[in-house]
Structure formats: structure tokens, C-alpha cells
Amino acid sequence: MKHSMTPKQFFQTVLFGEIWEAMKVTWRHMFHKPMTFQYPREKRIIPDAHRGALCLLRYEDGKERCVGCDLCEAACPSRCIKVISEEDKSLPLERYASEFYIDITKCVFCGYCVEACPVNALAMTKMYEFSTHDKRTLLFDKKRLYDVGERHLSDAKKYLYAHNLEKEGDESRAYRYHFPESIKTVQSSTE
């Protein structure tokens, strides 16, 4: 195949026309505000609905919200949640999770567990920095999850509001499950 070249093409090739074209863009951007930011010194603003680290929450009075219903475990598509529930020895007839594990290495951050939670005990936060030297620390236990919840309480609340799960005031009380009293305590208090 014979190659032929017009004079315009010839000059463009000799004078590196594409480079000048590109340099034009660079020149233009020199007068723009930068789009990137300097992670980790600078941090990105994250939307409320962001699905970050999972955490467990407490009520305002400090009581654990989780009732150990195992529904998050059932909803989890990657089977990374393990709940061990039992009767609260100090508060008979109340169910709670004596142990709670989330294997973050398996978690796909789908947020199904939060949707499944009937008492809004689980929430997602804006925390996404999990990097570690030891993979074993990524098995979050109950204490760690409550710690995350305490540290990122406002973010967790915002997540729930953003997903239209948590309600304010009286409506929120409907979520809090009230366990029945034992007839024994009722009888002894009337005596």
C-alpha cells in the first residue's frame, strides 16, 4: 500500500501538532481549581447514605438495641454475620445477643443487614479505613462494633435517616421492643 501525505499532515507531524494540542488542555487547567485532593491529609466529603463500616447502636439510655434476633444473619448474602443469642441473665425474659461477629473480610457492604434489623441496632457509618497488617483484626466482635457505633454515632444516625429507617420522637418508640414482665415480678410487686 502506497503512503501519501498532504502538506498539512506533514507539518503537523514535523512540529508535533498533537503535543501542542495536549499542552493547550494543560494550559487551560493551570487556571482551574484542582479536582483531586491529598488523601490521607485531605478527606473526601461522604454522603449520608454511604455504606461504610457496620456498627451496633445503643438507645439514649445506654441499653443495647440489639435483641439478638438473628435476622441480619439470615439476610446477609455473604454469610459474614454470626449472632449468638440468649436470655439476659440480669434481665429475665429479655433476649439479647451475647456474642455478635461480623467478618469484614467477607462483607460486601450491601446494607441488607441494616434493612433487616427490626430495632435499628445495626447501622453503617462513613468509616471505610480498614487497612491492617493482621487480617484477624477484621473479625469485628460485639465490643468492637459497639465502639465503632459510639465513635461514629452521628454518622450512623444519619445513615438510618438517609435510608428512611429511623424515625423521630414518638414514632421511634414503636421500634423499641418492650419485653413483657414476668408474672412473678408482677405478683411480688402487688403483694
Partner: protein
């Protein structure tokens, strides 16, 4: 199709036709319309229906439309009549049913997340099926939860008032411990009289509750149904052989359930003749021993500093070495073995084969020796039958039932439901001869409360009365006139006056019970430990056979003699030949043809030795030094037999004592070698229930720690002794049992019973019948009270004392039970300290009132050895069967 109401099994209802969704359907007249619909395979939702009891009609879900009626009708309470035109499907019906669900849900707390029934809840299913998403006017009941009972919690907020719990308790269990009570504006289920629930705790109410209103304390909040792995296996507590589901989560047993559930609600009321698929308290709540911390985890070997944990390989090597040493030094006859009848058929088979071929001794026995063998040997001798004669269906449909010395509601609660159905549903006449007012006696038409230990005498009285009143069946007895005259002559020696005086029962009553038994078209005898485990048990059994034969009940369809066994596989132990007198298949040990057949499979020779080396002779042999090594598999004679037998001395006298058990028993503490064995929940194999049904055990868990199956240990010992048995799996053993006992695993329907009496009545019948009908010597006991060791419904042997649930329900109270009259006479109050003295010993304990006991009688549960009441007992040994009788003694009681 259920026959409701059923009053007699003989009555047949008229067959009618009705139209169902455009198709003509045949049905029995008067049955529930719901049953007719269900029998065609159509499923109409119903939350208060269960086939085991009559329709209740409270849930309002089973609506169908009937031509000629404006509103939908409840099909469960409607009776099927000829010419009905019924439609079961349609938009209007779905809407009507949806309304019913909404009505239930509007007062339901919607606490599904914390409810134990979540995922196994009929109300949830119904709400889902009918698309209930929004509730108007929902309100909360705010009823406190009734946690007063030891086992069950009643959360009446969740109750939908279906009444299933109340109905099953009343109609199936015939206990009637629950009732409806209007409290706080709602109908609530409460225990009778709003007291803390204190019943038999069978847990059937828990099983049929379609919501989570009744929950179980032992597994409360610990699970969600979908997390549990279900294993179908057979209960190991008694001979009923109930099928149960062991539900496990990871490595722990969470709960035990059974096929009885609101989910299995469709069926035929008459199906319950084969059992209602429920369980008793032991099966349902006595599972904690499986993963008990008291389980043995490693083999132990006795050293100077006590029992030391040892690796398996060393322990097996040591045991095999010691056995080989004893065998070489003293011969194989110096080794003996005992095995518990809670083991599987495979364990039992390998045990007897190991002892007979590898060791070469016939000194083996099982715990069937404690009584069941009396029953089997008497029946085997007389009629050639080796198990109970009736199916549960025949018991259900009996016209008269004679229960002698069997507290069946306590020892075999599920089998006793068939008797309860017979007397409740089919109105059978029931005669209960016992020395206490048992629960079955309370329901019986003729409760006969005899003096302690005179049950056998009462049977003699019945035989005498049958002859006196001439209720003899001419046709049957005409075939063996010499036997009839022998019996007639024999009973001449006893007079009803004396029987009446000794038993404490009027002659008129003896005559009446004899008449009822003889005149009924289908009479069934059920005998139990009060007869078989008391002095002269074998003779009494033969007397019962005489009674059945004289009245023509032996071999007639629907009649027969039965017993219920205490341990799960007593029948299997005898079938597998774990008794010195039997080879596998219950043929005589010295039967040459059977020996030849079995040696063809085994390929070895049979040991020398007699067929009399039973349990008591083995212990005697240990004491005399004749037996040098004893191999105990799950047996614990030290805690079972009274001190007068001197088991301790016997065990201390042997050179090698090998104990194999899931737990470290008192006997195990004396042992030189202890092997950890698996429990039934970890085994695969089969057990034979008292009816002769071979049922499967399936492993629900891996064996705890290093414990292994019993037969593995025997196979290991055989290997160590240089003659491997060559089994790799349980299947190999089953294959061999099939060869030795063709057809054992698929018995199917038990074969018809053909009494072969010619042989029995030949020989020395006349002579031995003369010996049988003799009034027992008036025992010269000065002591006033008959002390019996009784079984509790909450316990079975010693095994159940390792189940923490059962120990919570029924702890050891250290109390002697006495009738109120005796206590008044002695000036005692419940909880006072008393001194109990028998001929062999004396001890102090507390006393408690038990209204079921007649004057002159007192009782102690046999499951606990603290205080060691069994040591007050004297022990008699049956001259024929070698059964030790030690359940009754006479004591004097005084304030301590």
C-alpha cells in the same frame, strides 16, 4: 377419615356422597367436613385444627362456602352430610380468611424478632399467604409472661386462643392440666386454677402451639428454627422407641422435637392408634446429658495416684494385654461381661460375638436380666413368642385391659397413651392392679389397690375366680383337658378368702374383675415391674398365661399379654443373644441346629459353658474368685443392686475390671480401665422397641472428645487380642446380623401369634403348675411398711440424672413418700426427719406426703442413691431365670 365421635371401634358409619368443588366425594357420615376436604388432598388453612383431637373451631380460617348458606361456614365444626355442595376456593373465601388473620394479628404483639417460633409460626405463614400488610386498630394486650412453671413459659400476648394445647392435653394426654381463663379482658391459657403449671411436662402443648405463646425454658431465645440441623433418631430412654428430632446448632443440642407439630396437622384421628408422634418429658427435655460436662472424654487407666488419662492406643493395648493374660492364666471362663440394654443392636451383637468367639466364654448378660427376661422366657416357653403379643393398634381397640403391677404412665408415658385412648375414646374396661394409686388407676374403670407385693397373688386369685365362676373357654381348653384339670387341681390349694385377706381386696371385686376380663371379646394384659421384678416374677408370668389360656384369650386376635420395657433396647438385647441362655434370635444356647447355622456365619467354635451364668452368677463368680476379669459396657451394678448383694466386694475381687460408659459411674471409679463411650445421639445403628420394631439411630453430633462407639471399642479389643472382627462400619455388622437372623431389619408387621401349647402342656406341666399355685408363706415380717423402689416419669434409670433439665424438674429430694394416713398415725409432718430400718440396715431421711400411697406402703424413687435406700433392700434371686428381685422390702419407720 376420622371417625368422630368415636365410641366403639366396631361401629361403622354410613358412607355418603357430597360435592366438593364440582366433584363428587365419598365420606363417612358425621365426620368433620374439614377432614373430608383434607382427605382429597386440598389444603384449607386452619390454625386450631389438629388431627389428634376433635375440631375446636376457634380460629375462623377454614371457611368454605356451602350452597344454600349466605355466609361462609367453618368446615372443621361442620359435619359432612349427604348432598352438600361445597366450594373451597374463591376470591370471597380468601378475603374472608384474610379478615380472620387480620383479627388475630390486630391483638398480636408482632414481636417476631425475639419470638422463638419466628420462622415456624402458622400466624406468620397465614399473614404472608394472605398478604396482610396493614392493620387497623391494632392494640397490645400487655399481659405479663407466666414464668412460674419449671419448664414452660406462657406468653399470652402471642396467644391466638386456638386451644390446641388445651385439647391435646385433654384429649390425647388425658391430663387436662391447662384451661382457658378470662383475665384482663382476654382469653388466656393458664394452668388449671391459674396455679404454676405442674404437670407431666410432656411438652405436647409446646409442640402443637402454632405461635410462640408457649416456649421452652431450656432453649429459650437461644436459636431460630432455621439455624438448627434436624436429625431424626430414636429416643434412648424407654422401650417405647419414640421417633424424635435432635435439633443441633454447631456442636450443641438446642432442643428436641418430634413429628408432632402444628405443621403435621392433617391426618386421621384413627391414625393415632399407632402413636400420636409426641414425646414425654424425658425425651423432650432430657437431652442435656448428651453434651454434659460430666462426659468422659479420654480413656482412663488406674494408677497409684488414681485414674489417669491415657491415649487410646495405650489404653486399648493395656486392656487387651490384661485380658489375654487372664485368658492364658485362668482360661476363658475367668472372663465375664455385662452390657446395658441402652446400646444398639449392633453393639449388643458385637459384644456377644466378642465374648463368645474372641474371648471364648458364655458368661455374658445384659440389663434385660432385671425383669424383661422373666416375661420373654415365660412367653417363649409357653407360646414360642419372644416379645409383646399385641401391636399398639390392638391395645387401642381392646375391650378390656388388665394392667398388673405396671405404672405405665410413669415408666412408658407414650405407650400408655394407647391405653388412655382405649379407655377414653373406645371406652375399654380397665382393671389396674397395683399397690399404689397410679395415674392410670385414676382413669381406670376398676382400680384395684392391693397390698404391696401381692400383685402376683391377685393374679392367682383371678385364675381361681375364673375357674370358680366357670368362665373357662370350652373350645380352647378342650384341646388340652389334662392341662385344664392340672390347673383346676392346682388352684384347689388356694382359697379366695386368703387371697382377699392378703391382698386387701373383696372377693366380690376379684370375681367382678375376673368376669370383665373373661367376658370381653378382646382382652389384653399388660404387666410391668410390679409383677416381673418382684419375688416370683417368672411364676406370676406363667400364671398370667394360664389366665389368658383358660379364658380363651391366648392366640385370639386382639388379645394377648404385653409388657413395657424400662430401657430402650431390652428386646434387642435378648434378640441379639446377649444372655447366657440365648443365641442370637432367642434360640436356646445349646440348640445344635442354631449353633451350626451361626457358626457358618461366624466361622468359629462355640464356647463351652452352661447357660446359667447370668448376672447374679457372674457377680457370685467374681466374689468366689472364679472370674478374674469383668468387662462392663454401660452397666453399673454397684449403683443398681442393693448392698446385700455385695457388688463392691465382687468388683474389688477381680483382677481386671474394664468399664465402658459415657460417664464415670461409681462402678467406673473402681475400674482398672475406663473407656469413654458415645451416647445414643452420636451413634448410628438400630434399636428394637418393645413391640419388636427395629428403628434407626442416626448421629446428630460427632462423638464428644475422644469417645467412640461401643462396638468400635470391642472391635479394638478384639484386634488387640489377635482375632480382628473385621467390621469397618455399622453396615458390616448389620449385614452379618441379616445373615444370622434373616429378616431382622424388616420385620414389618409382626407375625401372627400361633400358640404351640402341646409342648408346653406336655412334660411336667402338671407338677410345675402345682408348685405355682401356692400361697406364698405368710412372711414373718414384723415390720409394718412395704417400702418400694419406684420409677418416676421424669427419670429413667441413672442416665437421666445427668440431664440437667430433668434434674431441675425433679431433683433428688431425699424424701420417703408415705400415705397421709400412715403419717398421721405416726404423728409425722412433711419435711420431718425419720429413721427407716429394714432387716439389712437403717438410715435417716426426710418424709413427704404422697396421697397415691395406701396405708402400709411407702416408696422412694430408685434413680438417686442419696441416701442409699437401695441398700435397705434384700435381694432374692429367681431360681429359674436368675432375675434379682430387690424392689420391695419391709421397713419400720420412726421419728428421728
Amino acid at each position: 377419615m376420622g371417625l368422630k365421635p368415636v365410641t366403639t371401634p366396631d361401629a361403622e358409619a354410613v358412607t355418603i356422597e357430597l360435592s366438593l368443588d364440582g366433584e363428587m366425594v365419598q365420606a363417612k357420615e358425621g365426620v368433620s367436613l374439614y377432614d373430608v376436604i383434607a382427605s382429597t388432598g386440598k389444603i384449607v388453612p386452619a390454625m386450631c385444627y389438629h388431627y389428634t383431637f376433635d375440631p375446636f373451631g376457634s380460629c375462623g380460617m377454614c371457611l368454605v362456602s356451602q350452597e344454600g348458606k349466605k355466609a361462609p361456614v367453618r368446615s372443621c365444626t361442620a359435619k359432612a352430610t349427604a348432598g352438600m355442595v361445597i366450594r373451597t376456593d374463591g376470591e370471597d373465601l380468601v378475603l374472608a380468611r384474610k379478615k380472620a388473620v387480620e383479627k388475630h394479628l390486630s391483638v398480636h404483639p408482632l414481636d417476631c424478632p425475639v419470638c422463638d417460633a419466628d420462622g415456624h409460626c402458622e400466624l406468620q405463614d397465614m399473614a404472608f399467604h394472605h398478604g396482610v400488610t396493614n392493620l387497623e386498630n391494632a392494640k397490645q394486650k400487655n399481659i405479663p409472661e407466666d414464668t412460674r412453671s419449671l419448664v414452660l413459659d406462657f406468653n399470652m400476648n402471642r396467644c391466638i386462643a386456638c386451644g390446641e394445647c388445651i385439647n391435646i392435653c385433654k384429649d390425647v394426654q388425658r391430663i387436662d392440666a391447662l384451661q382457658f381463663m378470662k383475665k384482663g379482658g382476654f382469653n388466656q391459657v393458664v394452668a388449671k386454677g391459674d396455679q404454676p403449671l405442674d404437670c407431666e411436662f410432656c411438652g405436647d402443648c409446646l409442640a402443637v402451639c402454632p405461635v410462640g405463646a408457649i416456649t421452652n425454658k431450656f432453649s429459650k431465645y437461644g436459636y431460630k428454627p432455621w439455624q438448627l440441623k434436624k436429625t431424626t433418631t430414636t429416643c434412648n430412654y424407654c422401650g417405647d422407641g419414640c421417633q424424635l428430632y435432635i435439633e443441633t446448632k454447631d456442636t450443641e443440642v438446642v432442643r428436641v422435637t418430634s413429628p408432632l407439630s402444628w405443621k403435621n396437622k392433617w391426618g386421621d384421628r384413627t391414625d393415632t392408634v399407632n402413636g400420636h408422634d409426641g414425646l414425654c418429658v424425658r425425651g423432650r427435655f432430657g437431652f442435656q446429658f448428651i453434651d454434659s460436662p460430666a462426659r468422659l472424654l479420654t480413656p482412663l487407666i488406674k494408677t497409684e495416684s488414681g485414674l489417669q488419662e491415657t491415649p487410646w492406643i495405650d489404653a486399648l493395648d493395656f486392656a487387651a494385654g490384661r485380658l489375654a493374660q487372664v485368658k492364658a492364666q485362668y482360661g476363658p471362663q475367668a472372663i465375664a461381661g455385662l452390657i446395658t440394654a441402652r446400646c444398639t443392636n449392633e453393639d449388643l451383637y458385637v459384644f456377644q460375638k466378642f465374648m463368645r468367639t474372641v474371648i471364648g466364654t458364655n458368661r455374658i448378660d445384659s440389663s434385660a436380666r432385671y425383669g424383661h427376661i422373666n416375661f420373654v422366657r415365660a412367653l417363649n416357653r409357653a407360646v414360642g413368642v419372644t416379645r409383646t403379643m399385641n401391636t399398639s393398634e390392638e391395645i387401642n381397640k381392646a375391650k378390656a385391659i388388665l394392667i398388673v403391677g405396671a405404672n405405665i404412665t410413669e415408666t412408658n408415658p407414650v405407650a400408655s397413651l394407647r391405653v388412655k385412648a382405649a379407655l377414653g375414646v373406645y371406652k375399654a374396661q380397665t382393671i389396674v392392679v397395683d399397690s399404689a394409686q397410679t395415674n392410670i388407676a385414676k382413669l381406670a374403670s376398676h382400680p384395684i389397690m392391693v397390698n404391696p407385693g401381692t400383685e402376683g397373688l391377685y393374679v392367682q386369685g383371678l385364675v381361681k375366680s375364673v375357674i370358680e365362676q366357670d368362665f373357662i373357654d370350652e373350645e380352647v381348653t378342650g384341646l388340652h383337658p389334662e392341662a385344664l384339670s392340672a390347673i383346676k387341681q392346682a388352684v384347689n390349694g388356694i382359697s379366695l378368702d386368703v387371697v382377699s385377706a392378703r391382698t386387701g381386696i373383696d372377693i366380690a371385686q376379684i370375681h367382678e374383675t375376673a368376669r370383665i376380663f373373661a367376658e370381653a371379646s378382646r382382652s389384653i394384659i399388660i404387666c410391668g415391674e410390679g409383677l416381673l421384678r418382684q419375688s416370683g416374677g417368672y411364676q406370676h408370668m406363667l400364671n398370667l398365661l394360664d389366665l389368658a389360656w383358660l379364658t380363651g384369650k391366648l392366640g385370639r386376635k386382639g388379645c394377648g399379654i404385653n409388657t413395657y420395657t424400662e430401657e430402650a433396647n431390652e428386646q434387642g438385647a435378648l434378640d441379639m443373644g446377649v444372655a447366657p441362655e440365648f443365641l442370637p434370635g432367642q434360640v436356646a444356647f445349646d440348640d445344635p441346629s442354631a449353633r451350626e447355622r451361626i457358626t457358618q456365619v461366624w466361622g468359629g467354635t462355640f464356647p463351652a459353658g452352661d447357660s446359667h451364668s447370668h448376672l447374679m452368677n457372674i457377680l457370685e463368680g467374681c466374689r468366689s474368685g472364679e472370674i478374674k476379669a469383668l468387662y462392663l459396657v454401660g452397666e453399673n451394678p454397684l449403683e443398681t443392686l442393693p448392698a446385700s448383694v455385695d457388688v463392691k466386694g465382687a468388683l474389688a475381687n477381680v483382677d481386671v475390671l474394664i468399664c465402658q460408659d459415657p460417664f464415670l459411674t461409681e462402678t467406673g471409679k473402681l475400674a482398672h480401665i475406663v473407656f469413654p463411650a458415645s451416647t445414643f445421639a452420636e451413634k448410628d445403628g438400630t434399636v428394637t422397641n418393645q413391640e419388636g420394631k427395629v428403628q434407626f439411630l442416626r448421629p446428630a453430633l460427632d462423638s464428644l472428645g475422644e469417645s467412640v462407639l461401643d462396638w468400635h471399642i470391642m472391635a479394638g479389643l478384639a484386634h488387640g487380642l489377635g482375632s480382628p472382627l473385621g467390621y469397618e462400619t455399622t453396615h458390616d455388622i448389620q449385614q452379618e446380623i441379616r445373615n444370622v437372623l434373616p429378616g431382622y431389619y424388616n420385620l414389618g408387621r409382626p407375625s401372627k401369634i400361633e400358640p404351640r401349647l402341646t409342648h408346653y402342656f406336655g412334660n411336667d406341666f402338671a407338677q410345675q403348675v402345682g408348685e405355682r399355685y401356692r400361697l406364698p408363706e405368710k412372711s414373718g415380717h414384723q415390720r409394718q411398711f412395704g417400702l418400694r423402689m419406684i420409677q418416676l416419669i421424669y427419670h429413667s434409670g441413672k442416665l437421666s440424672t445427668h440431664a440437667s433439665g430433668l434434674m431441675e424438674i425433679s431433683p433428688n429430694t431425699n424424701r420417703l413418700r408415705m400415705g397421709p394416713e400412715d403419717m398421721k398415725q405416726l404423728g409425722l409432718n412433711s419435711g420431718e426427719r425419720i429413721r427407716v430400718t429394714s432387716d439389712t440396715g437403717s438410715l435417716e431421711m426426710l418424709v413427704t406426703e404422697d396421697v397415691s400411697l395406701p396405708p402400709g406402703s411407702c416408696a422412694v424413687p430408685e434413680h438417686f442413691n442419696d441416701p442409699p435406700v437401695k441398700d435397705l433392700m434384700t435381694c432374692q434371686i429367681d431360681p429359674t431365670t436368675g432375675v434379682p428381685y430387690f424392689k420391695l422390702t419391709y421397713v419400720s419407720i420412726e421419728k428421728a
